[in-house]
Symmetry: C3
């Protein structure tokens, strides 16, 4: 399992796609984006336009863990991205966030095939004034630490270039 972290427009998605496309297809793209507004719809469209077959796309804005569990054995899986899933989960007032997070981590741990997880690194700024934003970056940071601890490779992408945090460069 590879965890690809990066800032906004850092090229992390493209880098992650390249990792999967180096493997034999077909590939499963697990999209967590939820189209709340036009800006988000435009971003989703732009991302999809980059992925012709043999990519198969599955939307998983909320139930990410079970989509990962149900992925065909051996199929390379790209999850893009964890921070959007976390946003959706935190905005869902009925969600049991701790349980969902544990289920997600467990699904990643037991995944049968190669998997690349993409997520936004969001903690390298001053403390946000907004309490929800503070909670969000705490949750994201904790999730990244747990996944990084069990990942084979962790990469931070800056300006399209990978910095290897864990595992071998390639």
């Amino acid at each position: 399992m590879t965890l690809v972290l990066g800032g906004a427009r850092s090229g992390k998605s493209r880098y992650a796609e390249g990792l999967i496309e180096a493997l034999p297809g077909p590939w499963l793209y697990v999209a967590t984006a939820q189209a709340w507004d036009d800006e988000m719809r435009a971003r989703i469209a732009e991302h999809r336009a980059r992925r012709p077959a043999p990519w198969e796309t599955v939307d998983a804005p909320r139930d990410l863990a079970s989509v990962i569990r149900r992925a065909p054995a051996g199929r390379p899986v790209l999850v893009d991205c964890l921070t959007l899933w976390l946003t959706n989960a935190m905005l869902d007032e009925d969600a049991d966030l701790a349980a969902e997070r544990d289920a997600l981590v467990e699904s990643c741990r037991t995944a049968a095939g190669p998997m690349v997880l993409v997520s936004n690194e969001v903690g390298l700024s001053i403390v946000p004034e907004n309490a929800l934003a503070r909670r969000f970056r705490d949750e994201a940071g904790r999730l990244h630490q747990r996944l990084a601890a069990m990942a084979d490779r962790v990469v931070l992408v800056v300006a399209g270039l990978p910095m290897i945090l864990k595992g071998e460069a390639r």
Copy 2:
């Protein structure tokens, strides 16, 4: 002296504790947090819960330089964290910030024993709208540069993983 930088919930405190705990104890934990509200109190409690004996904890929300100067010779010292100290100093209208900063840097330069300083990297975002926030990240950046220049090792922690900026990996 080691400077450990990292974002929110990056695992920087835990990494820094590991550096100190690799040395013979007892260890001195210098806590700079000031409990302004319940959120802060919860964070402080969570951090303390991770530190049983042989950790000794000293609170230094304001007079950090003299606490560092008075540390028993040879005792490993962990300061967690500089950005909280800087926040407290900047919110104290009677403080002479430049003088306090110089005293802090000097106390670190002349410290007798091994020391690990933890601080938040806060500059990797768009310019904050709030003028105090802008001043804060300027002050933090300048302080980090001065301490990094004289440190033996500087580490940036991302998702619990260390990136070595200066000195040897270990």
Copy 3:
């Protein structure tokens, strides 16, 4: 061509100046700052005070591409910084941002002499609430990716210390 990225007060400008000053002078400093207010004026003055002759300073808050194209052949050029230029371009309602960005990238690609470009990495935080700020960090991220792809060296400066993203350390 070298791209130097870094956060606020990360020491990126000083690091970039050192790269140019290691080359035979005279050196051309291309300043993109526009003095909108006193805070900005103070920052510009502080930066200028660090640059005696043989630095020659040219202001290019808007027409950066043509200043780069007109630089004397072989003259080492420092551009500080791209994010200020991008700010100026985005605040100019009459600007054709895509065309200006393409012209800038092209001027960098065809520059005759050694060039160092400084820019702020601004994407490693939570999503800004302000729509213009979101657009700004998207534009900055895309520009960095394009320039990084064609640069010989890319460096991320943290606390005054360089992390090499591309090219050789030196």
